[in-house]
Symmetry: C2
Subunit: 479 residues, 2 copies
């Protein structure tokens, strides 16, 4: 069943590393032709898929390039791949521009079944372990008292909380008592914000930032400070330091790993520095870590939570991006705010759905989760490379692209003359949907940016749509 085991995943990296070594030591020279895919399979006794993976990987590092009908060659140009966008510099002041109608347009595409949906940061159904979850549902029916008809305690299914704590062990030190389950990850953020803040308080977010966070914070009457954010390393610790020194801030919300929409992942030093800063200023940090398990590298990145001894970090997660969005199973480890968060959950929902919590608990317990995630990470990484290649070949000259090392989304930055709201309307007419950059800020910025979801099944149709999107952007740029 497990065609992509941990071993296979490492194999392509080993082979790529081997070739990279040969290029760097000039055993293979610039412009040299590389072995064909078939030859590579024979040389290393590997599958076609592993061979392709190795070449894709080298291509993403701009070390090699594919030439139509000719095969792979060592790159002549060091940086042939799209550049990475610069650190964002959100203008100060709060514009709080109205964006509801834009969001409504983007969301209205969900119900249009013939749309190619680059707009949503969720995995395609084909990537989810539906059959195994269904077995789990039947098991949960048998195991749970009253087959899940009874109220779960407010804090949530204890077996699930134990598994979440156990899984977090590699990057934290939690027990089941530290966790409160929620109705998905956004509900973990919502309970956390409602427990910590009151209207008029100021919070700090990344820029660009997931629009759901902006909308939620706005609806709670919060003042939102967007800070400079790097597409690879996330929020700038210096900027955070300055903001905490000059503003009265109640909380920060950061997507620490593979952020939405940038795909940035905070290095450990940044995580430590951010935790030090919020401790120094006694400010809560809501750490949105819902993509952490979707890493492309060798191991899961750490969390801010794991560097926190003060209890000021509220670590939030869910299985909505990895197992089942529709189950609405998420959680938060609220640190010193546990009682308040649990109380907010009690007041607003009493408890979460019983049976879906039990299914996820079993799924995590039996190791099926890790098996599934290995496959899913492989699929997503391959997709990411495909997107990068199409963007490189078919998007306008000068297009910049983020380099997520995990997660579901790419951030694309065009030349300033390409307005992505205009592009959005053009694309919608051709049944292609994406999320315009304007959705990810309350300031006047990102009008020439967009977010792409690569959690789709990579098909001819998807490839055509992505190529077409690039062409339309070119048309706008040349107009």
């Amino acid at each position: 069943m497990d065609t992509f085991s941990e071993k296979t995943e490492h194999l392509y990296l080993q082979i790529a590393g081997n070739i990279e070594q040969k290029i760097k030591t000039k055993v293979i020279g610039i412009g040299d032709k590389l072995p064909s895919l078939r030859r590579l399979c024979e040389m290393y006794n590997i599958s076609q898929s592993t061979a392709m993976q190795a070449y894709y990987h080298l291509e993403s590092k701009s070390l090699i390039e594919a030439r139509p009908q000719s095969g792979y060659f060592v790159s002549r140009v060091i940086k042939r791949f799209p550049a990475i966008p610069a650190t964002s510099q959100p203008v100060s002041g709060l514009e709080n521009l109205e964006m509801n109608s834009l969001l409504d347009s983007v969301f209205s595409h969900i119900e249009q079944k013939d749309m190619v949906m680059f707009s949503h940061g969720v995995p395609a159904e084909e990537m989810l372990p539906v059959a195994r979850l269904n077995k789990g549902l039947i098991q949960a029916m048998r195991d749970l008292q009253g087959s899940g008809t009874a109220y779960e305690i407010t804090q949530g299914n204890v077996k699930l909380r134990r598994q979440i704590a156990k899984n977090a062990f590699r990057h934290g030190h939690l027990t089941e008592e530290d966790i409160v389950t929620t109705t998905g990850c956004i509900n973990a953020l919502s309970c956390s914000l409602m427990a910590i803040t009151k209207p008029g308080d100021t919070i700090i977010v990344e820029s660009p930032v997931y629009f759901g966070i902006l909308q939620l914070a706005q609806s709670l009457g919060l003042r939102i400070l967007e800070l400079p954010t790097h597409p690879e390393t996330g929020i700038q610790p210096d900027a955070l330091k300055k903001a905490l020194e000059t503003e009265k801030v109640k909380a920060c919300i950061l997507i620490s790993n593979f952020s939405n929409p940038l795909g940035s992942c905070m290095p450990d030093e940044h995580k430590k520095e951010v935790v030090r800063l919020i401790q120094q200023h006694h400010v809560a940090l809501i750490e949105d870590d819902l993509y952490g398990d979707v890493y492309f590298g060798r191991s899961r990145p750490s969390t801010c939570k794991s560097f926190d001894e003060s209890g000021l970090v509220l670590w939030c997660g869910s299985v909505s991006k990895t197992l089942a969005p529709g189950y609405r199973v998420g959680w938060v480890a609220p640190g010193i705010f546990k009682e308040q968060v649990n109380r907010i959950k009690l007041l607003h929902t009493i408890s979460s759905t019983s049976i879906t919590q039990e299914v996820i608990a079993n799924f995590l317990e039996t190791g099926r989760y890790e098996n599934h995630m290995r496959k899913m990470r492989h699929t997503l990484y391959t997709n990411y490379l495909q997107y990068l290649r199409v963007i490189q070949e078919h998007f306008p000259e000068g297009t910049k692209v983020s380099r997520p090392q995990g997660g579901f989304v790419l951030w694309v930055e065009f030349d300033r003359k390409i307005d992505t709201i205009h592009l959005f309307k053009k694309a919608a007419a051709e049944k292609i949907s994406f999320s315009p950059g304007r959705m990810f800020t309350l300031r006047r910025q990102f009008d020439h940016c967009l977010r792409l979801n690569y959690g789709l099944v990579w098909t001819e149709e998807v490839q055509r749509a992505l190529i077409r999107l690039g062409e339309m952007a070119k048309e706008i740029g040349e107009f």
Copy 2:
């Protein structure tokens, strides 16, 4: 399967009506012995259970009385049953007393499996159609795209919304477009309050009022006005009129049918008058109707919503009290506030759990719901009569009791010298739990009251616990 069909339920009422007629026209005189249960079965060709039901019903109306070892007799005393409490007169001014520790004590009993739980307003698992819901789960797995792993649209499962609208047809005029599903009924109230109010706003509630409403409103920073409420007819329209004329009110929350904790049911004239008043003052009415289907009379009571043409009524319901609390399936028909409510739901949870919505949709669609409810109503009504009898026989002289015509809870009012917090502690030591009156107000009142849940399976143990509770109350009263 259906031992208690609609026909049977009507039969005992017919027979009771027949006997009542004979008593009123003095065909049977005061003090006369009535036929034995066995004789009654033969006379009407009915089952023992129907015969008992008929006598219980007459007993609850104080028309007949049971004498140990002797059988049933026409009552000598017209009002031998406990009196009904008077209309509440909450003192003005907002005390906002702290009650969290009390709530925590009551809630901590949930996890004590050996407690007799008179404290919670939920049906016993034995009353729920667990096996048929499980069949529904398997069906839903097959029917739903992705077996329920995918996000549901924010407004909720369309089939479920259609069934809710259809069921409401007898007491409203709704379509699927008017409904938004929620994570249980309390979440419907939460979304409604968040959509309509902002901190500092004033809302009107009944008195006593379900503590969940108090807690939720307090956490949202709302000012709470408790108004005089009658145990049989609910909030006093006159008091509401006066409050709306003198205070700046943003919304009312009323449990229109079989309120928690009183069990009151607003007569149609009161519903019409309340709707007229809120329309006149342009104030929203959040109508909590989660007990409406649990009626003991011949048909479901109406709703305020059905008398509202303005769209100011937000009608809330759920299946948590009738089918499956742990499914967390509720809804609201928010009238003119639909867009705001839907948006609040989107921001805080994105959507509700997909699969449990589908199960409930099918359950409602196939008529299994009505079948189940007939049985459940019968069981609850019988329980209610059993409670009333024990209270009459074993609770202190002068104890008053509400007369719910549906729902799960009884309101008991002792003499003022009996403090129910004291009783609560005594009872907890003997593994008996109930909800003290203090939980149902923010003012200094109801210290001598308590709420009892009769949604338990009536067993020897439950009967013993209820008798013991009465004895303990007597001990406190005599001390």
